[in-house]
């Protein structure tokens, strides 16, 4: 009898272990700790840090994409390191040094290819997502910005020094086919609309945005929001804005102006400017909450302690917050009830309720910058 009880207890214990070990990754994410070459693994349900993974090199400018199963994060570091992090096991699965100076990357529609965009040497490199084996590369003789995945194993990106948009087809990943389109002066970043159709490159060297309809790419890139500065002298831009598909809220896109303290709103069917919204300073991230009702904006140095919220129904700033020192990045939970903000100089991550604007939690992190949740795995252009 005693034996039976013992084995029953053992079985219960095992069952207990099994339930704590099995879990999904849909509510997990990573926070880049830029000064330490480390990422923290976070849980958005319990609003806690589960662990951290070190040894990722120079993360002074880092970004990440996720495998389609949401288990692995591919982290692109400034020093050209590409690290595949196993979020569940909390360890590095694979790591390669793939360039001298890198800025980010993207993952293909089918999740089998990871592509890095590099400054030195300029161009893109294509890797097998499982093994990180180098499959091919497209040299560009220019810094590459704004790399995004497109449907059909394609990738779009912009060339800062050449003023072009390139679309590379990786249907055969060892033989890239590239189309080139003139875009405008000094594209600084790019985005694709959430449906994967329109690629936009923000221009730094002139007022405007280059727009390519990838469904009809033979028509080439056209310019929208041209001359939004109306020849006025630009205010200094102490940090480059960042673009991604989060710019789109409903039928409108919200884009940072360059050298003007404004958010520009364009209608997504006519691509005409419909409004401009005065904000606190030079916008850096202009991010729509996943439902599109709000747009959150952070700012360049020296106003990076501020965050403003735009109500997309009225087009007005409805809230101004000071969540901490040097707010570098924001990330919404998958359905947008919370937003996580990194406060680099406070060494904290602040979590806000997006309905009440109440701060609901604060987590410690060393010089946090980018925050990336696994829900990006299912979104084109993330």
């Amino acid at each position: 009898m005693r034996r039976i009880l013992l084995s029953l207890a053992a079985a219960l214990l095992l069952a207990g272990c099994a339930t704590t070990e099995l879990r999904g990754t849909g509510d997990l994410g990573i926070v880049i700790e830029r000064a330490n070459g480390r990422v923290a693994i976070v849980d958005t349900t319990t609003k806690s840090i589960l662990g951290s993974v070190a040894g990722l090199g120079d993360l002074s400018h880092a970004s990440a994409v996720f495998s389609r199963d949401g288990r692995y994060a591919y982290v692109f570091g400034r020093d050209g390191g590409l690290t595949k992090v196993d979020i569940l096991a909390q360890r590095i699965d694979k790591r390669v040094m793939q360039a001298g100076n890198s800025i980010g990357g993207a993952i293909s529609q089918d999740g089998r290819l990871v592509v890095a965009q590099n400054y030195t040497p300029g161009g893109i490199k294509v890797f097998d997502a499982t093994t990180l084996e180098l499959l091919s590369e497209v040299p560009a003789q220019s810094k590459v910005v704004g790399l995004v995945d497109l449907p059909g194993q394609k990738f779009a990106y912009a060339l800062f020094d050449k003023g072009e948009i390139w679309v590379t087809d990786l249907s055969n990943p060892r033989q890239p086919q590239t189309q080139k389109f003139p875009a405008g002066q000094q594209p600084y970043d790019g985005l694709v609309t959430p449906d994967g159709r329109y690629y936009m490159a923000g221009l730094f060297g002139e007022d405007g945005i280059a727009l390519l309809d990838t469904w009809q790419s033979e028509q080439g890139a056209k310019k929208i929001l041209e001359n939004y500065g109306k020849g006025q002298e630009k205010l200094p831009v102490f940090k480059m804005p960042h673009l991604r598909g989060w710019a789109v809220a409903g039928n409108q896109a919200y884009l940072p102006a360059i050298g003007r303290h404004e958010v520009l709103v364009v209608d997504k069917s006519s691509w005409k400017e419909v409004r401009r919204i005065k904000v606190k300073s030079q916008p850096v991230f202009v991010m729509a909450r996943p439902d599109g009702r709000q747009v959150w904006v952070n700012f360049a140095h020296p106003d990076n302690g501020w965050v403003q919220v735009i109500d997309t129904l009225t087009g007005e700033v409805v809230k101004t917050l000071q969540p901490g020192k040097a707010i570098l990045h924001m990330e919404f939970t998958p359905r947008g009830e919370h937003v996580w903000l990194s406060a680099r100089d406070d060494h904290t991550v602040a979590i806000y309720d997006t309905h009440s604007y109440e701060r609901i939690a604060t987590l410690p992190a060393q010089s946090p910058s980018g925050i990336f949740f696994t829900s990006r795995a299912a979104r084109t252009g993330f």
Partner: protein, 111 residues
């Protein structure tokens, strides 16, 4: 009396030594400026100053350039590039301090 003088001199030297660590003459808060360069200039030039969208600012990359010329670029920006003028945020003395240290090899953050 002699002891008093010694004490006074010693205390003054100690204060001075401390002051030079954090604050240089003409009111330059050096740790603050080191942080600004590493973190905020670093968003374009890289935290390690190896370059990014902006050019590298390592000692090797700046070889042959004068601190005076760099200070002018810091204050007034560089036309045709993304380098903004910092004159609204930095004094001439601060720009000169940064430029001089860049040419010599920029210090690491200590806090």
């Amino acid at each position: 009396m002699q002891r008093f003088f010694f004490g006074l001199i010693f205390a003054s030297i100690a204060t001075l030594a401390c002051a030079t660590q954090a604050r240089e003459p003409n009111g330059i808060d050096s740790p603050e400026l080191v942080r600004l360069v590493r973190q905020d200039c670093g968003s374009c030039h890289g935290m390690t100053l190896q370059g990014g969208l902006g050019v590298p600012l390592t000692k090797e990359a700046l070889a042959g350039q004068s601190a005076e010329a760099l200070a002018i670029i810091i204050l007034h920006g560089k036309h045709g590039t993304a380098m903004p003028p910092w004159k609204t945020l930095l004094t001439e003395a601060q720009a000169q301090w940064i430029a001089q240290r860049l040419v010599e090899g920029f210090p690491e953050e200590t806090r």
